[in-house]
């Protein structure tokens, strides 16, 4: 299959299904037909991504399947979209995005399966749900900054409605809060996008760099013909190349003594950090989760949060490395703050879903920390392996958290469907009443606790181990979180599942877990175990690309940043020596 067709199909198949659903043929009188079609669309997308993940058969190197071991972008294609602003319909996939695409298609499929309980306006729900999937997949696959932004916004609206219409009692508050928070982020991101666009110039790049950035041949020729006018671009790969030039066009001073890329980094980072979310811009998350219906919570925690981490890895760091280097301590510090703060906040919650939401804040803190540990030197040796390990750990943590948090929210939803409350003090004794459910819950919550053999452990431990070379203080604080995590998760399990009898209302409503519910929770647990004992299943796809990103930045640190630091230091010394 052509790359263009394949990737477009992956992204737009759900939207296509949504279009079909709009036909009057489908009416809310026959909800199952609507649900089945939606499920079929998500399954089809999942199968396409799985097909991509399969190893290519020997001898067929022209395949569009994902090539394991290849670090750079694959399956790229670009089409003119808005030529007057150099905007392209430009997509591609590498190890970083591919694993997240797989996660997205998988979790979306499961949460569609979890949507059977939605009975209100099924048609509208499914249409929005499918549009949401298109938006999410588009974000991960877009390589044109403008396209990326469009998908980012496309994803926002369906989410707003899905929370605002199908949510709990305070749904409107939660939906608006979610919307405004994300919108603030988007606006900041838009400013940064335009700043970068208008200061970019493809003419600064060599032919090799242009080709590595997959710039279309016509543009390459245009660049080579030369001209006085700079050629602006939204190409994320080309922007990264420019950001890492020794005389980057983004280095010019903008405001308050800081460079353009410093400000762009700040704006982009805030935009992505809101999505992650990090403390202190996280408070939309608990509200959104508590009010959102179960499947939407699964998507929110499982995928949407990952876009923040993805954005930082894909956009912030490669395009604005100078700012990234200077602000690395801030980034890592925010990560640690989120880990600790989220864990403490989770411990004090009375609402089951809120607790899981705060655990997400804590767990996503690991991601930010792992990304932030900018170490190009270990001791006196040039060695970026520790940073590479942190970044890999962070990416793994995203996948692991996608699995475990989606599972946790689903399991909370299962019990909520039965007893219609989430008050942690009014559960108990579920182990006796719902043994299979409780078994699954223990498995998935332990994955969240970071128990070895389950996926959470790998991400957490890899991130934590990589920190010491960067900062010992942060390392010690981050290590202490294991105690808090064990505390709140075990306490929760005790209150909900253990004990002799159920203490809350609607005891009659408790019935054992259904096969449909098992079919959703069991695969999540299965993957939690698989990734826990065989992390290479994930690393084999992502590591080459992450190592390349880290390697590029580490080389940049060595060749560009370090001389700069030394020059500054010596000029300071000269200043100091002058009377």
């Amino acid at each position: 299959m052509e790359s263009e067709l394949l990737l477009s199909l992956i992204v737009f198949l759900p939207a296509l299904a949504a279009l079909v659903l709009m036909l009057p043929l489908f009416s809310n009188q026959r909800p199952d037909a609507i649900r089945l079609l939606s499920l079929a669309a998500t399954v089809a997308v999942f199968l396409l991504t799985v097909w991509m993940a399969l190893d290519r058969p020997a001898g067929s190197d022209a395949s569009t399947r994902f090539q394991v071991g290849e670090a750079s972008m694959q399956d790229t294609f670009a089409r003119d979209w808005i030529p007057s602003f150099n905007i392209y319909y430009f997509m591609g996939v590498d190890g970083i995005s591919f694993t997240l695409v797989l996660l997205t298609s998988f979790v979306t499929m499961l949460s569609m399966g979890a949507s059977w309980n939605i009975t209100k306006h099924v048609k509208a729900y499914c249409i929005l749900f499918l549009l949401l999937e298109t938006g999410m997949l588009g974000v991960f696959l877009a390589l044109d900054f403008f396209l990326f932004y469009v998908f980012w916004e496309v994803m926002l609206l369906p989410m707003y409605f899905l929370i605002g219409v199908w949510g709990g009692p305070r749904r409107e508050y939660a939906a608006i809060k979610f919307f405004l928070f994300t919108l603030v982020g988007s606006v900041l991101m838009l400013i940064a996008i335009l700043m970068l666009y208008f200061n970019s110039d493809l003419g600064r790049l060599s032919r090799d760099q242009l080709q590595a950035s997959r710039v279309p041949n016509s543009v390459v020729q245009q660049v080579e013909q030369g001209g006085t006018e700079p050629i602006h671009t939204f190409n994320l790969l080309a922007l990264a190349q420019m950001g890492q030039l020794p005389d980057s066009p983004f280095d010019k001073e903008l405001w308050l003594g800081h460079s353009l890329q410093w400000w762009a980094f700040i704006l982009l980072f805030i935009g992505f950090a809101i999505k992650v979310p990090v403390v202190p811009v996280h408070t939309w998350l608990p509200d959104a989760h508590v009010e959102a219906p179960t499947p939407i919570s699964m998507i929110l925690a499982g995928i949407l949060l990952k876009m923040g981490g993805y954005g930082i890895i894909r956009i912030c760091y490669p395009i604005c490395p100078d700012a990234g280097y200077d602000l690395a301590y801030v980034v890592a510090g925010i990560g640690v703050l989120s880990m600790v703060y989220g864990a403490f906040a989770a411990m004090s919650q009375k609402d089951f879903k809120r607790l899981v939401a705060y655990s997400s804040v804590s767990h996503m803190g690991y991601v930010i920390l792992g990304i932030g540990v900018w170490t190009a030197w270990a001791g006196t040796d040039y060695n970026s392996d520790y940073w590479s390990m942190g970044m890999n750990g962070a990416m793994f943590q995203m996948i692991a958290h996608g699995i475990s948090s989606a599972g946790m929210f689903f399991l909370v939803g299962v019990i909520y469907d039965r007893v219609h409350h989430r008050n942690l003090d009014e559960f108990g004794g579920l182990f006796a009443k719902m043994p299979v459910y409780s078994g699954l819950a223990f498995g998935i919550f332990f994955a969240g606790l970071g128990l070895p053999g389950l996926c959470g452990f790998i991400g957490e431990v890899f991130v934590t181990l990589s920190v010491w070379t960067y900062s010992q203080a942060l390392a010690v604080i981050s290590a202490s979180v294991v105690i808090l995590t064990a505390g709140y998760i075990l306490w929760t399990l005790q209150r909900v599942y253990l004990g002799p009898e159920y203490k809350g209302p609607h005891e009659d409503g408790i019935y054992p877990i259904t096969p449909r519910e098992i079919a959703i929770a069991a695969p999540l647990l299965a993957f939690a175990i698989l990734f826990g004992v065989y992390p290479s299943a994930v690393f084999r796809y992502m590591t080459p690309s992450i190592n390349k990103t880290v390697g590029d930045l580490a080389t940049w640190t060595k060749e560009v940043k370090q001389p700069r630091i030394e020059a500054e230091r010596s000029s300071e010394m000269e200043l100091a020596q002058k009377p």
């Binding site: 411990m347 030197w377 006196t380 006796a432 431990v461 010491w468 294991v482 253990l498 190592n547 060595k558």
Partner: protein, 795 residues
């Protein structure tokens, strides 16, 4: 098959079989016969096979002479050990001692021990950094495998009998429901064996682990098994709390362990113990053979610590590195690594100050206490400290010694007043683990691990006997027992064997039970350490010797209160009965091992096996504490230490025994009187030195308080700020609305109104009469003309 292929295969299989059993029981457990009775057969079959495989591996090790081909000097060490402990030949004396002396002068093993280590598979690799699942097999591994699988097998059999209640519906008398009835629930026979299998897998994985990360993985897994097993009676609040406490307190230790791991990882870039495929492991980095295997700060640590000396990007030269090393750079990293890893051991082995979880862990079924909380898992901390021994700097060892000595005394004193039979044993376990740590800390590597093995046998025996008693009388309270030896002789006398073993009963200088040999070698080493370190050593020696006396007292107190004298609770006594054969046969087997396992003259005695795994190299003096000197362990076999230890301990322990007989055997003295005389001390001990209350006040409550504060901060401040922002926006919008409505719209409206009213006023003019219009035009024209004229004239 060559041993480098056969040993990993055998032990690997022995390790994985319980996992297979666990997986099978998880999937089909409830369907395995009535109440899952077949699960027990599956689990027992798996661990029994593991045991057989371990024994084969043991045979390959021993008969293949795998550990015997190190330097010949080493056999002298063993011979010296034997002689020192040995039988009548000892008296033949002088020449032997001279041999030992000359031995002290030169003969320690110089080559590293015989080890098989390799990666099984790679978890992840980033550049040169590799994380893998690997094995490290030396004689210690083989010994531990055999010991663990043997005890585990016996406990599996024992559990057939002990857990049989779980085969049908259970009435839990400790749980009262809201309606006032006791809890009725289905039996969970299979689930017990499911957890046991998972535990065996995890424990064996911990033993075979070839790198620190793998140790940590299985460290956590045994922790979670312990959590499940302590909380087996999930309906009981006390069991749930104990399970949580065990796991969380262990995580506190793990916090330190992670710090130690980070220090190692960041500076060495490897977790492997041994050298694998030419890649240097931790042991050979810290004990390089180039430096006669002395503790040496590895290059990585020196460079890590000396970054300040070079601008980043400038490689350090070997000459610089050795200068920095001699200046002490990186030494603190080595100490942190050692103390950090030891923190994990403190948690797992319930050492002071993290000892509080183990007594509560007795909420689990007794076979669990015997297997997990005495013989194997809690000893894993000692095992790791022993395994990691080459990496400990002298300062780290001193920390270990202090922790061990304090734990030893603390726990022993609490055991004096406890009345719950299992808790006495739990505190005794803590105390004995303290002994082992103390031994390691004063340089007695083999002594500590020797005690680990002997203790595993006699303590699991003691626990299983106590389980048999509890099974019979349905209470843990020793005040309701007494005289039970008539009813359950097998239990009573096997337990007496256990008590004698832990007491260290022996004919001094001739022969004794297992505990005699191991405890004596610890005390001898403590004396030897005292000899070289007068400042620290006195406390350690006093703790070791005093502990022996207290141990004798509380163990015999336990036995007397339970089995001797008159029954204190006749109801319980009458219902008491000897346990079924499946329970007491394992007791007899364990009793046999409790007697014999320490015997040093066997060709494959425990000390000999341990010597084969000893890492070569002397300790240098500490860098931070230069006065700290570690004597070679074999020096403790010198008569000046060894005989002294033997004599002193014999008397001290005898003193404890006599007191116990006086109070509880013959009842010449009345414990109640002592209790009232020393009521303050009694209350302190009864309340376990108030550690639970202290930790509750300084850790648990503050954490909960902080979490409340954080939760409130989130709601009040952050959300308050966000909502406030929203309210402000709305207020501004409202204000805007008012301005819009009244000012902007108002002014527009006013203008409009004026226009309207003027227009309205003017409407009167519009009459539609032509003559009137003409006249108005004329008037207007005339008026205009006049106006212009006038203005021109004026201008």
């Amino acid at each position: 098959m060559a041993p480098d292929a056969s040993l990993p295969l055998l032990l690997g299989l022995a390790w994985l079989l319980p996992l297979a059993s666990f997986a099978l029981i998880v999937l089909v457990g409830p369907k395995m016969g009535k109440a899952g009775v077949l699960a027990a057969y599956v689990a027992t079959g798996a661990i029994l096979t593991s045991f057989v495989l371990s024994v084969i591996a043991f045979g390959i090790w021993h008969f293949g002479h795998l550990g015997y081909d190190r330097k010949t000097a080493e056999t002298h060490v063993v011979a010296a050990a034997e002689d020192a402990h040995g039988s009548g030949e000892h008296a033949a004396g002088e020449s032997e001692h001279a041999g030992a002396d000359s031995h002290a002068a030169h003969g320690v093993p110089t080559a590293p021990p015989r080890v098989f280590t390799k990666d099984w598979y790679t978890l992840a690799q980033f550049g040169a950094l590799k994380l893998s699942i690997s094995y490290y097999i030396d004689s210690l591994t083989v010994l531990m495998f055999t010991m663990v699988s043997l005890i585990a097998t016996l406990i599996h059999f024992y559990s057939f009998g002990y857990m049989h209640e779980e085969l049908h519906e259970v009435v839990d008398h400790e749980v009262t429901l809201a309606d006032g009835h006791h809890l009725h629930r289905r039996g969970r026979f299979y689930r017990f064996f499911q957890y046991l299998s998972l535990f065996c897998f995890s424990m064996l994985g911990l033993v075979i682990a070839g790198n620190v990360l793998m140790v940590f993985v299985f460290w956590e897994l045994v922790g979670i098994c312990s959590y499940f097993l302590i909380g087996f009676y999930i309906e009981r609040k006390s069991a749930q709390n104990a399970a949580n406490k065990a796991f969380i307190v262990n995580r506190v230790g793990d916090f330190g362990m992670i710090i130690g791991m980070m220090a190692l990882w960041a500076s060495l870039g490897t977790f492997a113990f041994g050298d694998i495929d030419g890649q240097q492991g931790i042991f050979s980095s810290v004990r390089p053979s180039a430096n006669e295997s002395q503790v040496t700060v590895p290059d990585g640590m020196v460079k890590f610590a000396a970054t300040e000396h070079v601008a980043a990007g400038v490689e350090a030269t070997p000459a610089q590195i050795s200068t920095w090393r001699s200046e002490g750079y990186g030494y603190w990293l080595l100490v942190i690594a050692g103390v950090g890893i030891f923190c994990g051991c403190v948690g797992k082995s319930a050492q002071f100050p993290l000892h509080v979880w183990l007594p509560d862990a007795m909420e689990g079924p007794t076979p669990v206490s015997a297997l997990v909380h005495s013989a194997t898992m809690v000893a894993a901390g000692v095992y790791l400290a022993g395994r990691f021994y080459p990496v400990f700097a002298p300062e780290a060892l001193l920390v270990i010694a202090y922790v061990g000595a304090i734990t030893l005394l603390l726990a022993a004193t609490i055991a004096i007043t406890a009345v719950d039979i299992k808790r006495v044993l739990a505190y005794s376990t803590v105390s004995q683990l303290g002994y082992m740590m103390l031994a390691l800390g004063v340089g007695g590597w083999a002594a500590g691990l020797f005690h680990l093995v002997t203790h595993a046998f006699f303590k699991s025996l003691l626990f299983m006997c106590s389980g048999s008693v509890i099974h019979a009388v349905h209470t843990n309270d020793m005040r309701r027992m007494g005289g039970l030896r008539h009813k359950m002789p097998w239990t009573a006398y096997t337990m007496l064997v256990g008590v004698l073993a832990i007491y260290g009963a022996a004919i001094p200088f001739v022969v004794g039970l297992s505990g005699y040999y191991s405890k004596d070698s610890i005390i001898a080493q403590a004396l030897s350490f005292w000899n070289s370190n007068p400042t620290h050593g006195a406390f350690f020696a006093a703790a070791a010797i005093g502990g022996a006396g207290i141990t004798a007292f509380y163990m015999f107190r336990l036995w007397f209160m339970t089995f001797a004298g008159e029954p204190r609770d006749h109801h319980a006594y009458e219902h008491a009965h000897e346990s079924p054969k499946v329970m007491y046969v394992p007791l007899v087997i364990l009793a046999f091992f409790a007697v014999t396992v320490g015997f040093p003259r066997l060709p494959f005695s425990v000390p000999k096996l341990l010597e084969q795994a000893r890492y070569p190299g002397e300790f240098t003096a500490g860098k931070l504490l230069p006065d700290l000197v570690y004597p070679e362990e074999h020096l403790s076999h010198l008569p000046q230490f060894h005989n002294q230890a033997e004599v002193v301990v014999t008397f001290v322990a005898l003193g404890g025994l006599v007191l116990a007989i006086a109070f509880y055997g013959l009842r010449i003295l009345n414990p109640a009187e002592v209790k009232s005389q020393f009521s303050a001390v009694y209350r302190l001990l009864w309340n376990k030195w108030y550690f639970d209350e202290l930790y509750d006040a300084i850790f648990v409550r503050p954490v909960l308080l902080i979490s409340k504060l954080v939760g409130n901060f989130d709601r009040r401040f952050i959300d308050g700020f966000v909502d406030g922002l929203a309210r402000w926006t709305r207020a501004v919008a409202n204000f805007d609305d008012v301005i819009d409505r009244y000012l902007v719209d108002g002014s527009v409206n006013v203008v409009a109104a004026w226009t309207y009213s003027i227009a309205d006023g003017l409407r009167g003019l519009q009459t539609g009469k032509l003559r009137q219009y003409v006249m108005l035009i004329v008037i207007g024209t005339v008026a205009l003309t006049l106006l212009i004229r006038w203005s021109v004239a004026a201008g």
